[in-house]
Amino acid sequence: MMKHTDPERVFAGLEVPGPPDELHNLVVSRARAAFLEGARWDLWTRLWEHPVLRVAWAASVGLLIIAHLGMSVQPGSTPTVVTSQPSYQIEEIIEATRLPRLRLDVASVGVSLDDELTPGDRPSVARHKEMS
C-alpha cells in the first residue's frame, strides 16, 4: 500500500466512467437517422463546400470583373457620352419616313413615280380602254 498526496499519482490508478453500454445503439441509431435526414441537402452542401468548385467560382467571378473593367475602360479612349441626336440625323429620319406625294396625273398602274411624264405622254381615254 502507498500513500500519495500528488493528484496525478492518485488519478493514475483510477478511471473516468464511460458511457453506459445501452447508450451505444441508441446514440448511433439516432446519429444515423440524423445523417440520412441531412442527406437531402447533401448534394448542395457538397457543391457549396467543395474546395475545387469554390476556387473555380472565385476565379470565374474574378475573370468576369476583370473582363468588364477591361472592356469598359480601354486605354487612350474617353468614355462616350450619349447626348441628344444632332439635327442632321433627325432630318434624315424625317426624309426617310416621309411618304412621297401622290401625283394625280399618274393614274396608270405600272408606271413608276420616278418616271418623268410629259403632258404629251398622258394616257388618253382610248388607250386606257385598250389596256383594260
Binding site: M1, M2, K3, H4, T5, D6, P7, E8, R9, V10, F11, A12, G13, L14, E15, V16, P17, G18, P19, P20, L23, H24, L26, V27, V28, R30, A31, R32, A34, F35, L36, G38, A39, D42, T45, R46, E49, H50
Partner: protein, 196 residues
Amino acid sequence: MWMMADEAADAPPSTSSEGEELVQRLCSVFRDLAEGRVEALEEIYELAAERIYGLALWKTGSPDDAADVLQDVMVKVALQGPRLAAVRNPRAWLLGVTRRRSLDLARRRRVREAQPIQETPFLVSQSLDPARGVDAARASALLSRLPAKQREAIYLRCFVDCSFAEIGEILGVPTFTAASRYRLGMEKLRRELGSR
C-alpha cells in the same frame, strides 16, 4: 491520506503519441463520413464516446446530462456532412462541441433546479481492491468541490492527454489561461490530499 495499489500506480500514463494516433484515426473517419459513409458514425463513437461522455460528466456533474450531451454531439457530427472534411483537429473539435453542449445543458439545469454533484462518480476503479473504490469515491468528492472550469482543465490534461494549447482551443481561452486553470485546480487538490 490516500491508499493506492502498486499496480495501479505503475499503470502507464497516456502518451502524446497515442493522442496523435487517435487524432489521425479520427481525421480518417471524419473524411469517411464527409464522403457519405454512414458506417463511420460507429467508428467515431468507438473512438470518441468515452472522452465526450467523460468531459460532459466532469462539466455537468450528472451522468444523465452526460448521456444527453453525448447523443447531441453525435447527432451534430452526423449533421455536419461534408464540412467534417475541413476539421483539422477532430478531437479538439469534438471536445469543443461537447463543452458547449454541456454548458447549454448546465444552464438549463440551473434554471430548473440546482442539484448537488457531490454524489457524482467522476472517477471509478476497476480494481477488485476495495481500497481503490474508496479512493475513487474520495477523489470524486474532492473533484466535485472544484470549479467546473478547473475540473474540465484537469480532465483534459490528465485523462485526454491534451496539450495546454489544445485545452485552450477546446475551452475557448488562451493557452496561458488553460494552464492556469489546470495549475490552480491541481494545487487545490494537492492541498486537500495533504490535509487528510
